[in-house]
Symmetry: C2
Subunit: 497 residues, 2 copies
């Protein structure tokens, strides 16, 4: 295990001060050109040396006919060339003194026996020069914190706390927008491709040591270094949450994975066992993986599975209660004292059973602060799940009807919503030991929810996703406790022995 | 069973030519005022008669001190008054000759024994005057086709083909935006409340006969008229799909439902049995219910469960394959002839196994027309599941890089995207017997997907939702076939006997 990311072979690959770029030209429709364009688009501040056999300038940068001509040995080479010249190029890089590379080109192990032989050759060349490389057949890395993102599609996804190591490049390069919409962002993301030299285990080590990574996510179609993976994952998961999506459990999924990276997957049950052994939380879908990451990266450790649901609408309250029940969470009744404290704040027709159904929001301050504050004070409650409605159009209509001038409405609306947000954030700060989660059926991009997401409050698209994510957070901490108990037991029995 | 919606007691309630409004005033913060404001906001073209004890005008409309003063007997009375004057008001309506009402007011059966007695009284009054009413404790109805939506929140959700009968008013009034975002809209929606007079069964009959309703959705916390429900649902489901969400399966869900409408729910298994008996498709969550509705309302009848997945990205292909596998769909290999036809169109490194992974979109026309067209020609294939990426920002970047002038980019981008859409719609028309479904991890509001949704192509937020919805469509038709086989068997044995 490494202690610092600087000790990882991935460090110069995802934090390069300079890169050599092979395969970019002035024809934007080539993969390499797109990747260089991405690198420039996000504002990467390191040196870029395009290498091109004939162009003297590529995308506004001075180009070099051969890597030998480049004035320094760059930290990392990015190779996006036709398969048959990849080996030669890597060899040239080795001669130049380059020790790290990303091989994007495909046509290796995933392409059959001939490709597999070529991959062996590539591995031998790397071995000879001490080169560590990601790929081949990968889409590279993304480090939004460093504005370094050479992948093909770079939406302006904000940097975040999610580390990803993925056997699919798409889930690096095509998820920036998805993550942003859900209140997430990458701390560091790796597309591992065929894992000829650097594999999932190396990524796990890097992400485990990466201070910006709060949660590690893994997209897995098959694990090669099994024993080492388990050893590393166990150690990492004891310090930060690891969530894995394994595709290959269904027959259809298995054969899809096989043709995609050529890695061998096994039956679902084996992977369940491996994940359990490691303390990895398993997600069944990509949606679930990132949902879990949001909860695990933002919520404090829950003390138990007792949830209070707060709503002003019966249906959403009932679906939330049902979702909690199915996720293994319970909805205890509140203490008599809590009910007493609530009484002055909620209408007679409201319910103080759990879910707390206020029937309507009488007073926003009470809705977003006083009532949930009382609920969270209750010792019987470990977590809060709150329903968010607050549609902007409705607020505007009410303001208009109240006689607010048309020109003042946007300002008044914002003032109102900001008040709600501040009240809710105060609530979160006042209960640092109790997870607070929201759900809504409206768009996550509506003002209030969007701003809460931006400030680290997890809000989900429906109650099922919220409840499952809360349950995942709980099970991570339970697994971690169990493991540390086992460890100390083992330790004390060794001492006794 | 009714043959025409005009025969339903709900007809004048959801298609009124005139309404009497009780409980609206010039104070917008009252529920009644909000509901009247909604009715006006959407542009309802019928007559509205506000009844108010002291105001002479309410929200710009002439108000009447008593219903006796109103110049006609309106089709429907909407009552949003304090509990204790509801009975008297309904009696006044009866005397006036009004025969239909929506009782929004709460404080009846859901509020305990006293409320239950009051509800009995309300029922007796209705009986005496032959009044049919929805509620009490409901949020009314929505008929976007008629621009009639007196519920509290009325986003500009377009009218659509989804009928809803809901034991939660929120799922009528708070779902307009949700439905619109997912390519859906209500044909007619009923919040049934306590079902004192009109119940789920009546709604089922109405929606069964409603020509604008292609799919019926039900939100159920408990069924009262069990036998009649089964009888009606069986008859309706034989003609159009019915999808139900039953909350009450988990203990938490059960107690939430109990305090919400006061209806008794039973164990999950009983409801599973009832739904199976009726031919109702069961959804486990609200998200699933509307996902199923989208598939059932847009797709042709699938011939079988054999799906081809088309993608240009390995990861999304693998998750889609896995999702199909879990949903009970299969991914057969393609015929040799199909593979032969595909060869000229896809790169060497692509996969012609199923999923068809083109690795990248070489040519949009091929991606959105030729390739899926070849796939759908294959007799081994019953349905297509296609991955949609096409991020607008990326398209703009490529156009910019290709030298298109900045001012022309929006036009060029739209032209490009419209070309893709037309190609895809031609594809759909060319294969009227094979369901075609899309999935994306990007926002459904991005141009291409949004326009496809608007034109009736179902696209889902992730492959799991797509696969489950396709499986639901399949199981509806299988159930319907089975039932009609049983029926004709029964029929022929009666003839023989």
């Amino acid at each position: 295990m490494i202690c610092s990311i600087e000790d990882s072979p991935l460090y110069p690959i995802i934090n390069p001060k300079s890169i050599a770029f092979f395969g970019a030209s002035n024809n934007i429709l080539r993969m390499g050109s797109l990747m260089l364009s991405s690198t420039q688009a996000l504002g990467y501040e390191g040196k870029i040396y395009p290498v091109h056999p004939s162009e003297t300038a590529v995308r506004g940068l001075a180009a070099y006919q051969s890597i030998a001509d480049v004035p320094e040995a760059p930290d990392c080479a990015i190779i996006v060339l036709p398969t048959d010249i990849v080996c030669r190029t890597l060899e040239d890089c080795g001669k130049k003194g380059i020790r790290h590379a990303i091989v994007v080109s495909g046509g290796f192990r995933e392409a059959g026996p001939e490709g597999a032989a070529l991959q062996k050759k590539l591995e031998r060349i790397a071995g000879r020069y001490g080169i560590r490389f990601l790929g081949p057949n990968c889409l590279g890395v993304a480090n939004p914190h460093l504005k370094f993102n050479p992948t093909t599609i770079t939406d302006d996804g904000a940097p975040g706390f999610v580390g990803l190591a993925s056997q699919s490049g798409s889930f690096v390069t095509q998820m920036f927008d998805y993550l942003h919409r859900h209140g997430l962002g990458f701390s560091a993301a790796f597309s591992v491709g065929n894992e000829a030299n650097i594999d999932l285990v190396d990524c796990l080590e890097y992400l485990g040591a990466c201070p910006r990574t709060k949660v590690i996510t893994l997209y897995i179609e098959g694990i090669t270094r099994g024993k080492k993976f388990v050893e590393t994952a166990r150690a990492v998961a004891a310090r930060k949450p690891v969530v894995a999506l394994y595709i290959g459990g269904s027959e259809a999924g298995r054969s899809a994975g096989l043709s995609h990276t050529g890695s061998l997957s096994g039956p679902d049950e084996i992977y369940n066992g491996i994940f359990r052994q490691c303390g990895i939380i398993r997600a069944q879908t990509l949606t679930e993986m990132f949902d879990y990451a949001l909860a695990l990266g933002t919520l404090p450790r829950p003390k138990g599975n007792r949830v209070v649901v707060q709503t002003h609408s019966g249906g959403p309250g009932a679906t939330a209660a049902d979702a909690c029940g199915r996720a293994g969470l319970v909805l205890p009744s509140l203490s008599a004292q809590t009910v007493e404290r609530l009484k002055p704040m909620i209408p007679k027709t409201a319910s103080t059973a759990n879910p707390i159904d206020m029937t309507f929001s009488r007073n926003s301050e009470e809705t977003f602060f006083n009532i949930p504050d009382i609920l969270l004070d209750d010792d019987r409650i470990d977590m809060l799940l709150a329903y968010f409605l607050s549609p902007g159009l409705f607020v505007e209509r009410v303001l208009r009807e109240m006689g607010v001038a048309e020109t003042d409405i946007p300002v008044e609306r914002d003032k109102m919503i900001n008040g709600h947000i501040e009240a809710f954030l105060t609530l979160v700060r006042r209960h640092p030991d109790k997870p607070i989660v929201g759900f809504t059926y409206r768009s996550l991009q509506e003002t209030m929810v969007r701003r809460l997401l931006d400030r680290g409050v997890p809000v989900y698209q429906d109650p099922e996703r919220a409840a499952r994510a809360m349950a995942a957070a709980l099970s991570y901490w339970r697994m971690r406790d169990e493991r540390s108990r086992d460890k100390s037991k083992k330790h004390s029995s060794i001492q006794r022995g």
